[in-house]
Symmetry: D2
Subunit: 397 residues, 4 copies
Amino acid sequence: MANVHYRIGKSVQDNYIELVERKGIGHPDSLIDGIMEEISRELSKKYLDEFGVIMHHNVDKGLIVGGEAKVEFGGGVVEKPTEIYLAGRAVHEVEGKAMNVEGIAMESARKYLMENCRHLDVDRHVVLFPRIRKGSADLVSIFKNKGEVPLANDTSFGTGFAPYTPLESVVLETERYLNSKRYKDEHPYVGEDIKVMGLREGTKLKVAVAAAFVSKHVESLKDYIEKKEGVFEDIKKFISRMYDDEFELFINTGDDYKSGSVYITKTGLSMEMGDDGEVGRGNRANGLITPYRKMSLEAAAGKNPVSHVGKIYNVLANELTRDIVEQFDFVDSATFTIVSQIGVPINKPMNADLEVVLSKGYNLEDVRPKLNYVVEGWMENITEITERIVYGKTTVF
Amino acid sequence: MANVHYRIGKSVQDNYIELVERKGIGHPDSLIDGIMEEISRELSKKYLDEFGVIMHHNVDKGLIVGGEAKVEFGGGVVEKPTEIYLAGRAVHEVEGKAMNVEGIAMESARKYLMENCRHLDVDRHVVLFPRIRKGSADLVSIFKNKGEVPLANDTSFGTGFAPYTPLESVVLETERYLNSKRYKDEHPYVGEDIKVMGLREGTKLKVAVAAAFVSKHVESLKDYIEKKEGVFEDIKKFISRMYDDEFELFINTGDDYKSGSVYITKTGLSMEMGDDGEVGRGNRANGLITPYRKMSLEAAAGKNPVSHVGKIYNVLANELTRDIVEQFDFVDSATFTIVSQIGVPINKPMNADLEVVLSKGYNLEDVRPKLNYVVEGWMENITEITERIVYGKTTVF
Amino acid sequence: MANVHYRIGKSVQDNYIELVERKGIGHPDSLIDGIMEEISRELSKKYLDEFGVIMHHNVDKGLIVGGEAKVEFGGGVVEKPTEIYLAGRAVHEVEGKAMNVEGIAMESARKYLMENCRHLDVDRHVVLFPRIRKGSADLVSIFKNKGEVPLANDTSFGTGFAPYTPLESVVLETERYLNSKRYKDEHPYVGEDIKVMGLREGTKLKVAVAAAFVSKHVESLKDYIEKKEGVFEDIKKFISRMYDDEFELFINTGDDYKSGSVYITKTGLSMEMGDDGEVGRGNRANGLITPYRKMSLEAAAGKNPVSHVGKIYNVLANELTRDIVEQFDFVDSATFTIVSQIGVPINKPMNADLEVVLSKGYNLEDVRPKLNYVVEGWMENITEITERIVYGKTTVF
Amino acid sequence: MANVHYRIGKSVQDNYIELVERKGIGHPDSLIDGIMEEISRELSKKYLDEFGVIMHHNVDKGLIVGGEAKVEFGGGVVEKPTEIYLAGRAVHEVEGKAMNVEGIAMESARKYLMENCRHLDVDRHVVLFPRIRKGSADLVSIFKNKGEVPLANDTSFGTGFAPYTPLESVVLETERYLNSKRYKDEHPYVGEDIKVMGLREGTKLKVAVAAAFVSKHVESLKDYIEKKEGVFEDIKKFISRMYDDEFELFINTGDDYKSGSVYITKTGLSMEMGDDGEVGRGNRANGLITPYRKMSLEAAAGKNPVSHVGKIYNVLANELTRDIVEQFDFVDSATFTIVSQIGVPINKPMNADLEVVLSKGYNLEDVRPKLNYVVEGWMENITEITERIVYGKTTVF
């Protein structure tokens, strides 16, 4: 492709400082990302069933207004439900055939919450308030013809990289470990609202985990301290297996044992006590916030997976670079950046940019054809990204 | 009791004209009455469990904002869910012990809808939006001491009568018949939104039934007409068994076969197509609207059953007069009216008034002691009304 | 007219007991009535401007969810604004020409509140939340042809009477006196939320006034007591001029001087402290609640003034009976009751009923032609009622 | 300072590609940023007045749910108002002294919209729905002692740079030019919703402007085309004065003259037609989106300006680097990145990082003391950032 630039880049690993964050599945920003993405996926499937194509929608404006709770060891009570506003636009009707978009949105949100938040009683702890307006006629037309590569809806930008740095892996995997079914089954007192921050100075890591505990599984302050220490040891062991160099671990640093103020919740979710969330304020499409890298501000969750070029390009960039580093041992790391051209098919970007770090002994000119082959393959099959998104085969937050 | 007046009244039956209406269980005004009353009852039970007394609450401000639906024979679709606002005030916390009032409200509303609306998919067709504020400190105090007769919260008024006139019975029972489990099982195409209007001119009745049909059980206009005619015959037979004189029956008079506009709904409920509802706008506590009789404007549904004198007096007046006509053959009909005195125990009304129509040969002076005995019995045990309400042993709409 | 019945009735005045209530202009139920009626009137005018006819609308589902306030002598603060939900249905668009119905609703509500609530800062004390859905196509069609008498939309009922009994006059006029511009200018400390209850036992009246005081104009408990006593004397004098017999007056009986709990408000409105309101729960169309008389449950405020037969018939019955008692000295009192026939022009009721009490020496047969002449005149010009409503020449609450 | 690192960085200018975006003042994402920031500033001032200190608040969760409009040359109509949800948390009460937080929020939002959107009729075009919950007790305590440097509330990150690259200047200034009072006075047909995208390939710029036109000032398609061409020429001239090299300009590329679909609006704002907005989804604190640079995802708008370290550090980094490049001619560009340490005073960061590009002939070791002097000065007076924010002397979006 003419407008793809290939360059030798610089490894993030070479910076003295690296900062990485992951807002876990139960963090309000991730929760609302997850809900709105679930709604988009369900709508996409329903549109396919009803109309044979995915109709226009961007349900990417979700808002969690946290509730009120009074928590105590052994229990406590949610005093005021959390309100979740489900907003955006979607096609409600095609040629006289209508769909209950807001109803599907509520149902999907309920389902998502029930599947992902073990201690949340959706009927009593959550108010769902859908505000999904009809899509404008203009935007609808993008999808008229099946099979075609859709046109870019905007001048937009996506970026992605592979592989994760050690710090990135540590941050990402630590949250996944703590939120895994297996860990939860054995440690029911660990809630879903988990945030992991990682800082690297040179080779030394500092990892801070904030994990909501579930009050009904914690009898007392003493019990809390013991369980927290247990979790601390579990994480320590887990990271040790991944990372050989020195690291420091912190957990729930806001706790104040003297005043008895510790991080316990009724539902395992901080939103119960007023923590708000908004789509697009948390993890990027690869699951992380990486301020020392190039990042897109795109809020991917809830965007339509057919023509929303910002969403597609971010997912594409992640998938493409992962493919490259998996296929080619000589590529130590890759970063792909791609800019769309409004009104032009999304596989004809205005500009794309592949930065690679090559293993010693390799040079760009030699490997360029190989790289190009992979890049062109992805561009040709760009509509597969849509499928991956709809069927949940890739992450968007 | 000193301030109870006994009088000989006049029978409504003697009026040339009588007008009676019943908004059936699925009518939006009744539905929101039912929801808010269910919430009050559930709150009462939870308060009893938690605090040993029913705390102050008046959740009598409910609003249904109807949705949008596109209905067709054989199916159709709800396009926009109905919004239900659950408003009022309630004690959320006593001495540091809190209760999830809004959560209980949502859960009760869901439960009520699921139990009473067979074709409603609550997850997709309904948005529940609770707005229940904290009760003011003043009002809370009314309930401080258990066992005591509570003080009247207001200068308020209740009225009730027994027995039903033939027209009243016809109107009430026709709706109950059509909404009975048995009838529904055999005629699943009849929805819950049923309104019955009855007019009597002399001895001739005109009864108009508006009954929502359920689209998925109606294949075509022809099928609709046949089923409607079947229902018409059923009602005719039903009324014939109750009423000997002449009557005319109308059903779904708004239907226009030419344009194909007939009363079918997706959910059996007109709220799906924009019909709104508000607490207190439908049936009085005895289940009817009877403009030719004395009526209270009190919206009983959702009011607290302990000290809300308007609610209690209306229920009391119904129960008391029923008791009198059941006990005493010589009482043809009775109407009881009672006015409270703010700040005084509710069994010490400012004024009460029992009007009776006696059988030939009886006079008031002779039967007054008997009547008085019953009235005083009810006043002494007035707190039983609370129990009847909480445990659903009486109607409030 | 064939189906108008003329009868000799009974005077309410002859009952030993009479109970009358007026919820003043600032009572939450009246406030929301006033707001929704203002919206209907503004919409009607805008429809006339835009389309030449008043399009279908029924914006009669308003809900006030009271706020929170902390009031103290000399001031205090509104802590949480009152929420006002403006609901119902209205035509938004005719033949491609659209109107901002919800915008007009908000603007009308603001205007109404600013004009009627001197101490309310609408920008800071009130949240307006419009939920006005589109009218269904069916209902729209009622208005298609100008000039015609519209068809009744329902089997509905209206009733009215004249003149007011002495108690009714006292109750109505006392509120109007206290809420008059003149009284307010001289007594700025009296708020708009005023409720008057009147009870008559024989000839003796008991009048209870609940009037919110405005905190910034009341320095201390002492000042409150003095001002309240002043108001008490004013009312006493006022009623004395209207009523010759004995009466007892009560004002703010809920006050408790010991605990310092008295009826002061920041805004002159109890809704600031959580009092809720709903359309149709307060005064009937003649401005009063009169449980010892025949009453319609119709919520007139916000209903469309063209074809909503319940609204029109209630206003008509009031206007017609006033006309009769003004024209004919021999009519001591009159009550008119009228029932519509769905789908038939509203000036062809199913049934109407004029009950009169005649002066001594008159009998019904002699005066019937005169009465009939007036009744027929009103029926012929029934569409004037619409105009009276739209241009505010009659009350609906 | 010990933990500040000084490094020689790389100029963004050296990248072959550069991409920059600015969402103008009327873009929904900027509008909600502006509203929530205005609310934070007004609350801050009110807290200072009432309590002498700025109390805790984070009103950074705003949501715009776009309305519906039907626009035509010469006019059109807003059909459904835009809904704006104002969410977050704030202290409502201190030691019994309360503040109407939601009222202040609504008032500030109104004021902001009226000042910044000339063609918006706030009363009719906007619904404001405040959802600001009480701050939790814990967070309140951060502000207890005046004068002290507050503790970091989180492990957070800020970054900023100076000066703007030529492309950045072009993008930023073009929007400001089009939204200047002067330009608007002369070209009233240009709305406030303006988005500028800039792409640099080598030295060549492509600048795409999307600017909403105001329908009442545009008579016809012909008029639109002429006016748009006029604006095009204005911008071209404007950029030419700033940028010597080649550039291409695009304006409203989505227009389709054939179908007559062009970018006109009733209010000058795309939110009228359903475009939604959320806090933190638009410009970074320096007014731009610069994906080829290090960026913070922090949503600064609405965050409290006292202890919210993410907000403060981003503003600080911008101010500090501007100061450095202004003071020192030998610094061509600077980027500052700073990471907080939860629970530690915000002027004791965990880590900070100053990257500079020095003019030829300078080396880092020589200039380090000078740089350090400036950095330390800013850290010592870090609380001045709060003041700059509260009094509007710096931008946050």
